[in-house]
Symmetry: C2
Subunit: 356 residues, 2 copies
């Protein structure tokens, strides 16, 4: 009987061990996000992810989300995840352009793909294959983390009627779009977000680019700048989930699938939520400031922007053959998919406008 009881105890321990290893292993991760705590829908996306994983795992797979106020390095997420200090990050790939210019291609490009086109390229074209190539050397897995859709071209104190109006214009606009504007004679500056409103109000700058109505409304730019230009430079900015590869590989298979599934779900949701918020905010802005003028840049300006974009991208391509390969792959995919966009979504809105 003594042996029997020992076997029973061993059996009970084996059961505890086995079921926990398969389905209830305790995992405690941390995620660092670029955003402050309440920057909806950017900050709420990883928070939703964390909640879903907690629920799916019966409280066993916990991801603590640290906002920028906590970890103090909004643009240090890449290194946090690479080093394993955080198992995950939520940010945007183009913030790592200084580490590898190719990372910028994954977020959005001037005159590039829309949300639908880009997701089609990522998941059914060659996008995710290139994503892996870019991030594998850093031991990071990277996934699309929610698209903002088309971002607006920015707020301008004066109307831009031609290329001359850009000469010496002081504008806050970062990234590749900033390089493009610089080529057109714009005096591109960088100013901390907290000082943007005052800088524009006092004329320290003449123009600035932020995101779109959903995010711009809290900044209050619509109260002081009458011209709101439509977008050309970030047609579908994708946020980004990063996972430390070694940490991911240690997860039980069940948690791996839960994680990737939840990433897809919350990323899609972010696009819907941002679309809703943009529409609400745009209505509010117009009601409160009916004189806001929405403008599309003149054709000669757009053509010059396109030419400058081609030059900037060609230079990056010269410096890095894989950059060139990815950009050409995107351009060729876009050429094909845009034909579909034109006869579907685009034609439909045009058609609807005829009768509404």
């Amino acid at each position: 009987m003594k042996n029997f009881s020992k076997i029973a105890i061993l059996l009970s321990l084996t059961v505890i061990f086995t079921t926990q290893a398969v389905a209830a292993k305790k995992v405690r991760w941390s995620l660092a996000m670029t955003w402050p705590k309440n920057l909806k829908p950017l900050s709420t996306t990883p928070q939703k992810l964390s909640k879903l994983l907690e629920q799916m795992s019966g409280g066993n797979f916990i991801i603590k989300v640290d906002d920028a106020g906590k970890h103090k390095a909004p643009l240090g997420i890449f290194n946090y995840v690479k080093s394993g200090q955080y198992e995950m990050g939520h940010s945007a790939s183009y913030y790592w352009k200084g580490i590898d210019t190719k990372t910028a291609l994954i977020t959005t490009t001037p005159f590039g793909m829309t949300m639908a086109e880009q997701q089609a390229w990522l998941f059914y074209g060659d996008g995710m294959k290139y994503m892996e190539k870019i991030y594998a050397p850093h031991g990071i897995l990277s996934f699309p983390g929610g698209s903002t859709g088309v971002q607006m071209g920015g707020w301008f104190a004066k109307e831009i009627k031609n290329l001359d109006d850009l000469q010496g214009l002081k504008m806050r606009i970062p990234g590749i779009a900033g390089e493009v504007f610089a080529k057109l004679g714009v005096n591109v500056t960088n100013i901390a977000p907290g000082e943007l409103y005052t800088s524009l109000d006092r004329g320290t700058i003449d123009a600035l680019e932020w995101v779109g109505p959903a995010m711009d409304i809290k900044m209050g730019f619509h109260k002081i700048a009458p011209y709101y230009y439509t977008g050309w430079h970030e047609p579908a900015s994708d946020m980004q989930f990063m996972i430390n590869k070694k940490a991911y590989e240690k997860l039980p298979k069940e948690y791996q699938t839960m994680l990737l599934t939840a990433i897809k779900a919350v990323s899609a949701e972010m696009f819907y939520e941002h679309y809703h918020m943009s529409s609400d905010a745009w209505e509010q802005m117009k009601q409160q400031y009916p004189n806001i003028k929405v403008k599309t840049f003149p054709k000669e300006v757009l053509q010059a922007m396109k030419k400058a974009t081609d030059e900037v991208m060609a230079q990056y391509g010269k410096d890095d053959p894989l950059f060139k390969e990815i950009y050409e792959n995107q351009q060729s995919y876009m050429k094909k998919v845009r034909e579909w966009t034109k006869i579907s979504e685009y034609d439909y809105i045009k058609t609807s406008e005829m009768v509404h």
Copy 2:
């Protein structure tokens, strides 16, 4: 020692029972889909869902997917799920218009919302609240199950230059769009999918509506009908996942969240995949049949379609106050969100066309 061994055995059984109840309960469900086995991306969407749930649950939550060839009732999914014969279904809400006209509103409406607009309405407007109201009386939970995006207006043997060209035209087009065409003098007929090609080829019908390039290409219509009209009637047809409510409530909380999360993930994926397939198929069609003419219906025809749509919807609204409420809610949401679409996605494509 005897008692001790009994306790150990009891303990081991308790552990088995407890961990299984929480995290590894065996669940075997069946899902009936409207589609045949290989109708990508419609049929692959519930198949992906099933695979994800199997992986997330460590093989414990299994959903067997039955295609139309198996269960023999492609348009019987609603009753299958309502009765509990199948725990789940994948279909499209507007197929249940005969049971409740309101179900049609959830899929798409003529001159209605695009994919992005509709998902924003569903998840951040009042959409899901109405979805619940419509399906609760049947003991069914219903969720968006993947959007096709804008569907094409159909293949026509002759060009439609004015309203007169519609008089007596024989066309296969089901649903509300069929009612609209009938009001404009079209002889609307219903023909089984397998006979469509021959009917169009032999002139038994003059026109037909199917889906869009991704699905149309296999049917071969582009080989025999030179005019491909752009869409007005199904701007964002959403497929549908249905769950028997009682079955859902019996699931462990973990599986409930897994199920809803996976539904969101695969539904978003379906849109991306269909976008990719549409773009590929459209390129192929054009290469093989360069004379296909893409046409937008003339303004007078579109305006008559809009007027007829308003009449059809007003009649349904008269018969059912909740139909009226939902449709008005959609129209008012669309009015607001379309302003954003116009200055974002729509303006962006227009802008890009100027420089490409």
